[in-house]
Symmetry: C2
Subunit: 299 residues, 2 copies
Amino acid sequence: MRGSSRIPAAAIAAVALVAAAPPPEPVTPRAVLATAPAGDWAPIAPEDLLLIDLEGGVRVAIALAPAFAPVHIANIRTLARAGWFDGLAIDRVDDGYVTQWGDIDGTKPLPAGVTKPAPAEYERPDRGLAVSPLPFRDAFALRVGYVGPFAVGAEGGQAWLAHCYGSVGSGRDGNPDTGTGAELYAVIGHSPRQLDRNIAGVGRVVEGMPYLTALPRGTGEMGFYAKPAERTRIVREVIAADLPAAERPAYQYLRPDSASFAAWLRVKANRRDDFYLRPAGAVDLCGALPPVRRAAAAP
Amino acid sequence: MRGSSRIPAAAIAAVALVAAAPPPEPVTPRAVLATAPAGDWAPIAPEDLLLIDLEGGVRVAIALAPAFAPVHIANIRTLARAGWFDGLAIDRVDDGYVTQWGDIDGTKPLPAGVTKPAPAEYERPDRGLAVSPLPFRDAFALRVGYVGPFAVGAEGGQAWLAHCYGSVGSGRDGNPDTGTGAELYAVIGHSPRQLDRNIAGVGRVVEGMPYLTALPRGTGEMGFYAKPAERTRIVREVIAADLPAAERPAYQYLRPDSASFAAWLRVKANRRDDFYLRPAGAVDLCGALPPVRRAAAAP
């Protein structure tokens, strides 16, 4: 009698059924995004979308954060609508730190309506602000999380935009409270969180980072270009809302208060798919920015 | 009687003295480095310094970490000495993530002596390893700090090289334990710490990061170049020890167990100089890599 004959037929059928079932799909962050219901995505309002057309026919898109820097954002809209940025340039590319553009030397007269924010918009009260928490340790803030597509730190009743890769802020002089939005920078290296609360964050690049990161580094002090010929010219800065609807690019972000975002965080923190052997057990604030995607049509 | 006449002369003199004294020099991280005694700097051994000469006459210098990945480092030395890397190329520039080079498709025969490390050198026992601790929270490891010029995580009796901006690791296939050092990558974005312990760290770029970061981004899958013509050619990879002494570049790092490093960390975490209004009260692991400088002569 062969040993196998002692296994009841029903058990053999059950084993065969299990063996025939495909292995469970590896759950990747990408797979979570692909199955997120439409309602877990939210549009970036065209009024909050700054488009920078650079020489060479390329474009950088920046989501603006009026909940954190309303005066700066109003200024940026005023400057864009006046065509004020057009013809200015990227003047500074400081490796591992920032790419900077606009009125670097502060000599171009500003249009009417551009004001210096007071207070300086480095932070805001956290009252009334729904921060979706990131449940992991952070070196810089007791509470961290996300508001819309933005990474946020919070402590002591205040909240602020965190400086992450791709974050955009408003340049200023050594003197505080000198920024208006006429000089902007984007982070191109390890997230410089020490800048948090020392300068006004205004938004986040949502498309076109390579056009800010793959530029030659400046060889002057602090990464400024030594020669004007090295600069990259800004053809136009425009608010998406000011374009004809058919020409507007549209973006959506995964709502940080959605079930899909929570699942995406869990999977990112506990990767066992593909390449990963040992899940990190955590993600850090700047390593888990809410995903952004192009939308089919303007919202 | 004027009010001032009621102040004793000695007190007036003391006040004048205070007023005449120059304000205390702002203490910047840079100032700490400038005054660090020679003994707080340590040389990077020429045997642990990999030089990559790229087309265009530019060079990237990488400090290797044999204490963490001895078999990988032995392989890298063997490959460099065989001229094996020469004529290969940078094949992948994935924005915000890594620049990668070497034998990407794994088809070039390896010279004798190159072996697959076992165990895979993703981590090592922390026994006997002096980790200079960073006294701030970290999302990924219970203990973080520095060993030589390298950022390190440690937990559960193991220690590993952390993935920071500029970190260099050994590429591998999806299968674990497939890396040898013949395919290398450098981190060019926010520090991807989730890779820690999932792949072997081998070192850190100490000079020439812009030659890895300012390259056009690859438009293929995962940032690989779609066309071979887009690649950047490796003219030569050489271990500094193999160059004539007069041609060897020499570097020193600030010893993480030195008083100067401790002071530098304190100042970085509590900046009140120049630009900063609100000290962060902390630094994060990848934001405080031990400073590296060119030395006058080979050590």
